[in-house]
């Protein structure tokens, strides 16, 4: 419904049912766009402006008056001017007394001022009811009607009735108001549109760094080494072979990194004998980006799956297969089925598929609409139980697949270990420690500590 409502309205404005009059201070881009949209939705709009000369940019059904005059015509005044000009409103304090002022401003930087623009406005005009709203909507989106992005408009304010009036306007424009409580939330609301995936930054940079490292590691061992010592040009490995070695390694390491901070937290709590002391900052931050790490790991796992599935379609693989078959045919013999190989190949494929399947389940439950429909107990069950099961399957998949390389000397080109070996370090550590932590004699004190028990109560003084 949301999707279509504004369009219907835009195409067929319901002009028979006039709504109340709204005043807009400021004839800038956003003020005009909002006014236009409001007129389309049936409101009367009056602009307050220094120059009352009617500009051709202003929507033609709107009136333009001086600030004081315009303000008197409406109960709601939208302040579409910049924060640095707010002080010109102080002389109008008497006119604005009791009116609802809607602060729609945004800043250019996070936490640019000590207090939010809306709180600053409320301090300047203590007699008015300030409501923060509309700052997350862009003028361009309002004007073009292409509100593909979030239709949520965050609203906050100290006066419940004023907030209701603003939320009704939000709804009338085809948007969805979301009450964020009192005006204290304004700072947060003003910071919101300035963010660009803040929680994703560290996980993404970490992944890029590790990916680059493993890529060049593989490039050195698989292409350059082969070129120098075996005089084979496998440069085309760059397109599929090497990525498909790096991706699973990244997926496994990142998945293990999702569970590692929980392991650290448990060890710290066991060591301290209490849960009432904060974790070190790095651990806190790490725990907060576990979801992002997990989703990036899932992306790598997905790429690994698809890169693997196209294997039989690669020219190189067809050539290698043909070569093997032809050499058997020319030697006039058929190799018998190697049962160990059949077992190994089928096992690591099956383990990998099951691990990936559980991983995708984890990803689906982390969709906001799904995780909102499960309770804490269910969420823990999925994220903890199924997550560890996925880690176990994926680690076993790698072990079975890469096992034969561990002891083979050909795996140690330039005395460097194969990346399969590197990829197994973190997951194996996580699984071993986790296994120790669920042994009853370790699990029991840990559970007690998490329920509030303290080994040494004086500690926390």
């Amino acid at each position: 419904m949301n999707k279509n409502s504004s369009n219907i309205m835009a195409l067929a404005p319901n002009t028979s049912n006039k709504r109340e009059t709204v005043c807009i201070f400021g004839t800038g881009d956003f003020g005009r766009a909002l006014g236009q949209k409001m007129i389309q939705s049936g409101y009367s709009v009056v602009y307050g402006s220094r120059s009352t000369q009617i500009s051709n940019l202003i929507p033609k059904d709107a009136e333009v008056l001086g600030h004081a005059e315009a303000a008197q015509k409406a109960a709601i005044i939208i302040i579409a001017i910049q924060r640095q000009h707010y002080n010109f409103l102080t002389p109008l304090a008497e006119v604005l007394r009791g009116k609802v002022l809607v602060d729609i401003s945004n800043n250019l930087k996070l936490n640019q001022y000590p207090e939010s623009n809306a709180e600053y406005l409320a301090q300047l005009l203590p007699g008015s009811k300030v409501v923060k709203a509309f700052n997350t909507v862009s003028a361009w989106a309002l004007q073009s009607g292409t509100l593909d992005a979030s239709r949520q408009v965050f609203v906050c304010g100290d006066d419940v009735e004023a907030k209701q009036m603003v939320m009704n306007i939000v709804r009338a424009l085809g948007l969805t108001p979301l009450d964020k409580g009192s005006l204290l939330a304004a700072q947060e609301i003003e910071n919101y549109p300035l963010q660009l995936f803040p929680m994703w930054k560290f996980p993404i940079f970490l992944s890029l760094g590790l990916t680059a490292f493993f890529f060049f590691y593989c490039l050195a061992l698989d292409v350059i080494y082969t070129y120098i010592y075996e005089n084979n040009n496998f440069s085309f490995f760059i397109a599929i072979t090497i990525p498909n070695r790096v991706f699973p390694v990244m997926a496994l390491i990142l998945l293990a990194l999702v569970y590692l901070p929980g392991i650290f937290a448990a060890i710290i709590q066991l060591y301290r004998g209490t849960k009432y002391r904060r974790f070190p900052d790095w651990l806190d931050k790490w725990m907060l980006c576990r979801k992002q790490l997990g989703l990036i790991a899932l992306a790598f796992a997905t790429l690994h799956v698809v890169f693997t599935l196209v294997t039989p379609m690669r020219a190189f693989v067809s050539w290698r297969t043909s070569k093997g078959i032809i050499s058997q045919a020319l030697n006039n013999k058929t190799e018998p089925l190697n049962h160990t190989n059949a077992w190994l190949s089928d096992s690591y494929l099956a383990l990998g598929i099951l691990g990936y399947f559980l991983f995708v389940l984890l990803g689906i439950t982390s969709l906001p609409s799904v995780s909102n429909n499960v309770n804490w107990r269910e969420f823990r069950f999925v994220q903890s139980k199924l997550g560890y099961l996925a880690l176990i399957f994926c680690t076993a998949h790698t072990l079975v697949y890469g096992g034969k390389w561990f002891l083979s000397p050909s795996a140690y080109k330039w005395y460097l270990p194969n990346i399969y070996i590197l990829s197994l370090i973190v997951p194996c550590i996580v699984l071993v420690i986790k296994f120790v932590l669920i042994i009853p004699c370790v699990d029991k004190p840990l559970t007690q500590i998490r329920q509030g028990w303290e080994r040494n109560p004086k500690y926390s003084e």
Copy 2:
């Protein structure tokens, strides 16, 4: 919680805590279903009916009285009668004064009447508080308890308190009320249940038309031509080979069509030198269905991926592979690895996978619950930056794959170009113009225009 709550309630009605009495006018199907559900949720229900004879269809704990008598027993009256009979309520105006009237009616056609049913009811009975609700729920769903579909009940009305009372009933029935504002929203709410994917119609018809065209084009060139001139019966190409030629072509063209209107809009704005004039209607409509076009393109891309991945399992492909290997074996020679082929095959596979991966990311961010959790800046970043990257990868994938056909004369059967060539026209145009648009000397005036600057302010007079 939503999911289970109504079930629990239905199985174990909480009869100890009686709620208030609700009156229902009309003993039709929906009136009975709603009454039944309300009784299960602890309400007392009294029906207002012309004939007070107790019908066996009416829930047995409900009372049946005359309209006036029934209305006096409750503060909330649900009007479960059809709009054309509303005028019989006018004599009851005195009894209904100050009461909350819940309009639950639906129409048979979109915008059937000039005003919504709820507004018409409010005009007939100006002394009552009319609230629109429940029209999106079906009697069948209420009765069978299988509310698998949306549990959202849109509520609107001019009286806040009346709306709250109705929303409490909605919650008590295990449904989720959604406040849509004043009674002006009733028209929209009444139109809602009549829609069948209105935004999808044009994109789906366009896709079906193009798919049919390309299917017969391929059928002519790949099956009929081969049958006539080469006397080979490849009719089984209809099942996989031809669809897997049409799907990627459709995916690429539709993805390009998602970005083409943005290109047009930029050119129009640059030409006009202002953003303050409406785009032509066709462009407006096109821009509004970009999300749907993109999702259909994703569906085609997905089908292409799966159809491609099953290639090695096809009997025809196994046969062709065997034939090639056997002919080599019989000629007693092994062809050496063709490095160019290895590079080309690996590159187009890798490009295709990466393009598809980005495409799926775009699809995930267009899920309502995900797009509600990103801000405008983040949404633009994903949809614009990642979207163009996906288009570039997919176009490159097609170029590398189909490149060898461009100049080969065998690609021009009946002097018609291969569909790879046709599929590249739109994406290449989009990418070339986009590339021109991001050149600084073009980008700068465009950015200024989008920020509200006008080359020729008189223009808009």
Copy 3:
């Protein structure tokens, strides 16, 4: 926004803007965690405790007083004590008169007491305004700040203003309040955190049981029979071959079981000639878990797809392919293309892909955020029309694939039918009866019955 807001707050508490004072009765784990979080969010917290000696566990900015004294300092009192101690509050009734009491308690079992804890509290202290909230949040999550799970806090209460005050606190802590209506909803809210996927239990046990049965059935026929009578050790079939026989069978049967109850319901309604009688209990329950059955079927179908796609990568399959090619090469002949085989193999692959594609579409529309954005008509269209189309495609896929086995005697090892034959029983029954039900002379009375018509009105007396 939700995601980040609490973190920002936790890291940079806004101490300049002090909020109101909140009192917490009880210094247990949850009371302390909640108090800590509130202090971080700018509230003054005062604890009410039997011993006013300041414990080192209590957040250091909080005050600790006797119960009566503490209660007088705040308008909102959070009752963080267990239900069995609620009666100690009765002497404080005078002090607590008119105050907002927030019941945050949980029980250990579903429906442990006849009335909910919150209603019990309201009965003990009729002069206070009881609000239920916070019970779905864990102390651990509050403390560690890792609120990855649902941020929804269900709130209910009879006093609207009291509820608003509590909802403001919920928002200030970075959580999302969800108004569940009056205090009658408390029972439901208290049961919520105790559930572990209640709707999934039956479908999961059913699937596990059937899977085990089919697994051992296949094991007997494909591994044990072959070992005994053909002396071949195919034990490695356990990893991929047998699962990939069981998964599609499970997917098809479960998908048919989704549509079977609808068929039963139609037959029952036709037989009874009315829709106004409840279905048998087993049918009601079955209809309520159709979504879960469908999603499990989708999981099996997905596993089947991936297990199938890795086929060419299996050592056993490569060996078998090589053997076939080498034997042709050694016999110096190339088999011609078998057109029937090419048609069959391409058809069942194409049918399977299309069926799975529709199945995934069904899965996507059952995501809560998607199904909330479609109306009842659209939901019915997708779930019923597309669902049956998926079932038809998948059944046809199985028929084309398994068709050749039906009459072959080798398919009846130990006189047992192949599981392909078993898997087709339920879907074929569903499709045949559905086909009968849409014949106009059957469909018309059924539609009438569903619109409320009764063949024999006396029946329902």
